[in-house]
Amino acid sequence: MSEMTVASKKNKGKKSLLYIWENRWLYLFVIPAFLTVLIFNYFPMPGIIMAFQNFDPMKGFFHSTFVGLDNFRSIFESTDLPRVIKNTLGISALGFCLGFPLPIILAVFINEMSSIKLKKFIQTTSYLPHFISWIVVSGIMYEILDINTGAVNKLIGIFGGSSVDFLADPKLFWIVSVLIAIWKEIGWGSIIYLAAIVSIDQEQYEAAIVDGASRLKRILHITIPGIMPTVAVLLILQAGSLLSGAGLSPGFDGTYNLGNPGNADASEVLDIWIFREGIRRMNYSFASSVGLVLSVINMTFVFIANKIANKVNDSGIF
């Protein structure tokens, strides 16, 4: 130790070179990942500046004219905005109100089942759609919801109802797309709650049974409080996606693939708007200013939700 403290600077330099040489493989292991993240994640960050420019790809970031907040002003002047906001919030609210509690209910139901074989079967079938792309899901849904030959409309017919064009009716798009998203993700969403339920102390249940608590009482007073911390964390995480599909909303992939000219009035959400304006119509600056507003609002929601969670039961994530 005393030798180290009196060592000359030259020696120190030699030492750190030696250190790097000795650990050269570790540094070589990090470099590709470091460069990947630097290029594909950090390089685009300063690009946000184009939200304040009249960006011209030929001129680049350095020579495009600076327009201050003009792009943001034109967001609010856009005639599309009210409709897009309405669709985004509508789908997100539905996705949240239905899609947040349903996986919890599924997890509780699965947990109450006594047959292990049946339990496994239910889990296996309910996780499956999560691994299928939204393209395939939309293809499947166009088939079974078809107005003329779809199995669902045939079923409605059997019960005496008239056929419904589920995927071409703007009035139905919100609920239909959310129900499809729930079909796709409910099983996957329940895994984390199931894991939380399994980790609840079993003695609590045994004591409750001895005290004569009914099944419902045991669920309400042991299971639900036991998973509340998990629920709180997931609620906070959901808060950050209120404007891009909270709960089990179809999100960009879902709304993009289920969207068609028939339901366009109800299916154009903010993320799709950014994509259409930015990539298809090449209004780069306008679209990135919408994107910036979106991420600022989302971040704000996360912070507010986290504050509330900390205040209520100290379960915030930061």
Binding site: W25, P44, S133, A151, K154, A287
Partner: protein, 298 residues
């Protein structure tokens, strides 16, 4: 007497619950069975008819049509290529970084971990990334499917957590025998980490197999489209004519008028689901654990 009553009420409860859950399961799998039945039906026989669970005039022709369709075959090859190459690159790059960052003796470890974590919360957004890809000359290149997806913070954290809990002793003995970090990583750490590597490989592979948006954004060359992107064009109704024409060219004249866009689309849909069904049992074994490790860390 009370005991019997209790048993009976429990039995009734379990039966009702089982019935509800089986109905739920049917709801989950029926859509798959439905398109599978359609993929095995003769196209012309399906027109105007509802197929529930049994194929109409069963045939394998729709699947043969895929193999005779240059557009679909090409896109399937692109998808296989991006899945294999993309998964390998992802594992090597994310895995090596996770191993290095799991070592306490790596100076700058804290900085690196924060550096890798920040993109989970902040990003440039769609447009700046798009401009970047254009500037890098990755437009219409196969590598646009691979490079941006080589690293994932989530998988990095999962693997790092795993490597950290491996006992030091196995590495120490190899080091005494004169092995360097590269040899230790490839010959000792990787073999004992197969469960976590297999899990991540499967999840990344499924992600690559299913992805389509990068193709929509960055690729407009027909021969570089992955199967999901081609499927999307078919479903959205912009690709049907080519599809049918191709299908008819490739098959004998006797079959020409038995195909419909619908029947071939159904076969292609099923064809993209099969590989996932094939790896699904392996996936299911591990992904719950993966979620939990990630959930704790992330």
């Amino acid at each position: 007497m009370l005991q019997v009553k209790k048993h009976r009420s429990e039995w009734i409860f379990q039966t009702v619950l089982a019935a509800i859950m089986i109905m739920f399961s049917v709801l989950m799998i029926y859509p798959f069975l439905n398109i599978f039945a359609k993929s095995l039906s003769t196209g012309s026989a399906m027109i105007g008819r509802t197929v529930y669970i049994l194929p109409v005039s069963p045939t394998l022709n729709n699947y043969w049509a895929i193999f005779n369709n240059s557009l679909l075959i090409q896109s399937l090859l692109v998808s296989v290529a991006r899945t294999v190459v993309g998964t390998m690159f992802h594992l090597v790059i994310t895995g090596a970084a996770a191993y290095a960052c799991s070592k306490k003796r790596l100076k700058g470890r804290y900085f690196l971990t924060v550096f890798f974590l920040i993109p989970m919360y902040f990003g440039g957004g769609l447009l700046p990334s798009y401009i970047l890809i254009t500037k890098l000359g990755l437009m219409n290149s196969f590598w646009v499917y691979i490079f941006p997806g080589m690293f994932s913070t989530f998988n990095f954290l999962v693997m790092m957590t795993y490597f950290k809990q491996l006992p030091e002793s196995i590495e120490e003995s190899a080091r005494i025998d004169g092995a360097n970090d590269f040899q230790i990583f490839t010959r000792i750490v990787i073999p004992v980490s197969t469960p976590i590597i297999a899990t991540i490989a499967l999840l990344v592979a499924v992600g690559h197999w299913n992805s389509w948006f990068d193709a929509v954004l960055y690729v407009n060359t027909a021969k570089l489209q992955p199967v999901q992107a081609v499927l999307q064009q078919i479903i959205q109704g912009t690709q049907t004519t080519t599809l049918l024409r191709n299908a008819q060219y490739g098959t004998t004249s006797a079959n020409t008028n038995t195909f419909t866009t619908q029947s071939i689309t159904m076969a292609t849909l099923c064809f993209t689901v099969f590989p996932i069904l094939f790896v699904y049992p392996f996936l299911q074994k591990y992904f719950v654990k993966g979620i939990m490790i990630g959930g704790v860390k992330g």
